[in-house]
Symmetry: C2
Subunit: 162 residues, 2 copies
């Protein structure tokens, strides 16, 4: 009986592990997205250097500013979500590059006082549904790549869906 019980326990444990693994796989295939998932679109891009396809979304402040042409500078309270996926060839339409694995969602947050050292922009990313801002050092690295766009308030994105 002891052996049978042990076997039953082992089986149960194995079943539990399999179920947990399957659940984890399902979660991995369907990542948790942040507040940005219902934001409106500013633009899209295909970053050949990073092999990413992206959508660039804006919060209400950003969308209102874009539609009013009030983007030089973007107002305080503006948040962009730059959501990226690894590029993938559509299995049924090889001439279409479509999203593969989720690569992450980056944030740009405008606060001209708080982020004065980096052009008024704070840089961060979402971990699931939580927005995590970078420390000063990492933000400075992000900002360095945006300096060529100084005349456009350090922003590469040109809003196209207004």
């Amino acid at each position: 009986m002891k052996n049978a019980s042990t076997a039953a326990l082992l089986l149960a444990a194995a079943a539990f592990t399999t179920a947990t693994t399957l659940h984890a796989e399902t979660q991995a295939a369907k990542p948790v997205h942040g507040e940005y998932k219902d934001w409106s679109t500013l633009s899209v891009s295909h970053r050949l250097d990073k092999q990413l396809v992206r959508t660039i979304l804006g919060n209400d402040v950003a969308i209102k500013a874009a539609r009013a042409g009030n983007t030089k500078p973007w107002p305080d309270g503006t948040v962009f979500a730059k959501v990226g996926w690894k590029e993938k060839t559509h299995p049924n339409w090889p001439q279409a590059v479509v999203p593969g694995e989720f690569a992450g969602a980056e944030a740009m947050v405008k606060d001209s006082k708080k982020f004065a050292e980096t052009g008024g922009w704070g840089f961060g990313h979402w971990e699931g549904d939580k927005l995590v801002m970078n420390d000063k050092e990492k933000s400075a690295t992000c900002f360095a790549c945006h300096t060529p766009m100084k005349d456009n308030d350090y922003v590469y994105t040109v809003p196209v869906l207004q």
Copy 2:
């Protein structure tokens, strides 16, 4: 006096023409978009065959269905907006393909009875903010390209921002 009046009129006419032209150019640069502009995102794509970058948006019925995994088939009332722009190299970041000229917004509308002959899907496009459905002949042409996706309810798009 007559000559002076004529000259003044010609100048006024020229100024009016210039103003009209400028206005038309401004309109061309900033197209009118339809109801879809505030819809949430289902996916994005880069169509190499058509040199288009696109975002694929969904109305409330579509987004709710996507998040519930209720897409085989998509429910009646689903509307997709496939919004495209001519691909363009970002002038300050040559490794980024970004939207150029607006190329149009296509629609797929699910009504399993009304569009029974084309898999339950009606095909159309927005003219400014007006949704115009295609006639049966044109819809059949659209549908023909979607038949390889029969097992996915004739839809190429896989929702990724859920």
